[in-house]
């Protein structure tokens, strides 16, 4: 699955939401710069989710605008200047909301898929 968008429209809302959730989740372990966020998502999904820059940075702008993350310039371990994003308390709450929504969604999809496998049976 690749997350990319060309233009915001209704169809990609779900994906947007998911990307936002992934970014927030990544930032839960502490401030990171954009590149590291992308790499983290990629690594943790075992290279399945490759977030393109064209989705990642607009996503970060979106989150910053909503007040869920804040950005600050800082030094990397390699002593380079980079822009670090940090989760705000609002962002933490949002992450919790997104997680529960996501779980509901996964369960719902799971139920549908199971039902499709064994029509007429109930759990």
């Amino acid at each position: 699955m690749t997350l990319h968008s060309s233009r915001p429209d209704a169809r990609t809302d779900l994906l947007h939401g998911t990307l936002d959730m992934l970014i927030l989740r990544t930032l839960q372990w502490g401030p990171q710069h954009g590149y590291a966020i992308g790499q983290t998502i990629r690594a943790q999904s075992s290279d399945v989710l490759q977030v393109e820059a064209g989705s990642l940075y607009p996503g970060l702008q979106r989150l910053a605008k909503k007040g869920w993350v804040t950005a600050k310039w800082g030094q990397t371990e390699a002593n380079q200047r980079a822009k670090f994003y940090r989760l705000t308390p609002e962002g933490k709450k949002q992450l919790l909301r997104e997680e529960s929504r996501w779980n509901e969604l996964v369960q719902a999809i799971g139920r549908v898929m199971k039902a499709a496998l064994a029509p007429g049976t109930e759990e």
Binding site: S5, P8, H33, G34, Y35, A36, Q39, E52, A53, G54, Y57, P58, G59, Q61, R62, A64, K65, W73, Q80, R81, A82, K83
Partner: protein, 880 residues
Amino acid sequence: MTWLRRLLRHAEMEDQLDRELRFHLERHTADLIARGVAPDDARRQARLELGGPEQVKEQCRDARGTRWVDDLRQDVRYVLRTLRRRPGFAAVALLTLALGSGATTVIFTVMHGVLFKPVPFADPATLVKVDEQTKGIVDYRWGDRWAFSYPNFLDCQRDVRSLDMAAFRYGGGTVSGSGDPEFVDALQVSANLMSVLGVAPIAGRSLLPEDDRPGAAPAAVISQALWQRRFGGAPSAVGATVTFESMPYTIVGVAPATFTIRGADILTPIAQNPRPFMRLRGAHPGISVWARLRPGATRAAAQAELDAVGRNLAAHYPESNANRGFIAEPLRPDVGGVRPTLWLLMGAVALVLLIACVNVASLLLARAVSQDREVALRVALGAGRGRLVRQHLTESAVLGISGGTLGVGLAAIGVQPFVLLWPGGLPGADRVQLDWSVLAFALGVSLACGFLFGLAPVLRAPSQRPDPALRAGGRSVTGSRQLHSVFIVAEIALAMVLLVSAGMLGRTLLRLSSVDPGVNLRNVLTSRMAVSPSILSDPGRVRAAWQTVIDRGHRVPGVRAIAMVDTVPMRAGNNQVGYWTAPPEPERMQKPLALANSVTPEYLDVMGIPLRRGRFFDDHDRLGSEPVVVIDEVMAQRVFAGQDPLGKRLWTDLAPEPLIVVGVVGHVRHWGLAADDRAQVRDQFYYPFAQVPDANVRRWSELMSIAVRTGVEPLSLVETLRHELRGPGGDQVLYATATLEQLANATLADQRFLVVLFGAFAALAMTLACIGIYGVQAYLTGQRVSEFGVRMALGATARDVVRLVLGESARMIAAGALLGACAAWAAERVLQRLVEGMIDTELSTFGAMVAILVLAALVASFVPARRASRVDAMTALRQE
């Protein structure tokens, strides 16, 4: 976050975004190298994965919601670049717009100052004007409104709680004493006039209620102008004495220069006027009443109170006040007849502005079409359609605002000369200035224009598909040709309205200038005159003083004849008198009216009025002899049609006994060269000043003028006459001096002014329309070079090509001319309503104007047509 801070932060954020993406790229590259990718490959791969940095930025801007700032900046930069690249286009477009919006702004500035601004007093919204109003009787001269009678004013002032009412009455007169005697405008005012209007004296005090009483010590407030003129602005003037109408008034204060009512230089207490009519409830001696609503009071409440007082007075004084009430209306500046003129001019400049817009629209469209390839390329490269539309609108907004700014500059230069050129002086000229409302108007107009002409290319934009335009190699013009034709048709039609209007106005002026005024305009000097105020109460001495004036006047070298007259032809002012030819006296409203002139025997010689029958007056017509009257041919025809009027009796409102008609003279265009034909009162009669009864001599004397026929240039005699006629006390003055020619010309001043301006606007409109047609045809033919090449390769001659192009122009021009002719015909109806003496639509003038415009338009399209015909077939085809 404010808009400005957002703009400032915007630059910083752009910078950060740039650095952030660069960092991303570096880290990615470094990671790839670390994984063993060759450095060059690593860099390329990193860049590939990032995608275009510009696209990423665009998406970030979208996400941030600040993209418009960026786009706007980019669009403006792009527009400025394209404009610089085509300086000719930019210059023509800007000049066109500057002229259009400049002219519009000038007229709006004047309208705003003269028509829309409130009276120049503090808190104008609470000021009202109060009139007497008659119910049931409507006089066709004044409608149902009347000036106040003084007793009615005093009752209203006392009983109406919600109004602070002030009265004033014109009372010009002679200031004498130290220095030359001069005639000044003056007002008799109630003591509270200045305080009601919120005007404080700049020296001394205002009039007090103690001054405003019969028998109080004469006190006066003088204007700042008079203070400077006669007292050099000395503080000691307050407390000094000014001799006005032979009466010494103590100056109690000086009114500021901003206080201008009828140009009055002296304010005297109205209650000190001892004349009997001031005590008569049935007399209406021209008293105006202005009032201020007291705090908390509304106009409706004031009106209710006025109604109650009116009913009360009608019950108590039925003879004078039956069916008479009072009406309060908002106080507005008195602007006389300039309103229709200003609206006409506004209409004319609006047409010019529209033509300018259409012109720029067609220029923009032509350019847009020639940019099709570029645009198509940009669409192919991913430019959003909305973005392209926005760019067009940005361009027209930039053009509109720049043109508007230039226009405001032109207006700032042009408005004062325009006001000064206004015939007879523009009322309220001092209120005319460029201010915020004018700037707001100019901005609004520029943006509206920008939107108007910006629409043209935008309308095309959605239909653009990149591939056909790219394939067409920039040659295709299909689709825009119709829009271009619409523009040309519109331009021709709009210009036609102005041109025909100007033509008809010109014809009107020509016709009016050649109209026989009924008098010989050459070498006649007229001047108002006041005899010594000290003798006014003695009729015998007044008569003698006037006789001396005539006698001394005769002795001045260069004077051929001299006469007294109370209403000079073609000058403002008239005396309408009811008459009847057989008893009993008709009802007041049923009486026909005539213009009455009280004159001395030489009047006919002075004016050159032809005697048709009988005789004019001589020195034997005096008090005690048979009262005589001479009527004009219009009245003779109307009243005594077919009969001999000589010896007939004529009753008038002037005297109880009938007058005997002794002569018939030619008709004089008293109302002016233009207006007389349509005037309601055209009958005229003359009666000898010598037969005016003693009781009226003073009043008549106050209105008197002298008229002199000269053998030399009339104005050269003014100083001699002024000196010769000063009288024994040196306090007899001439004022409002003018030659009859000047007066006659002044009656056509409005028409002349309109002709000049409409002429200028029409010329401008025609030039703009021709530029527009030239531009469109040059462009259209330029786009069809290869078509012409093919035609000529197939055997078409140069003449065929010219004919082809001209034929297309002619069709558009003809359509425009037809449409314009209809619109012009409608415009003529408007002009006829608003312009005095406007002639009926004249086919020859109409046709001539149409011909001029069509010819000019054809010439304008001939140049590109000829160029098209010179196309070399081989070169044209090789361009494929």
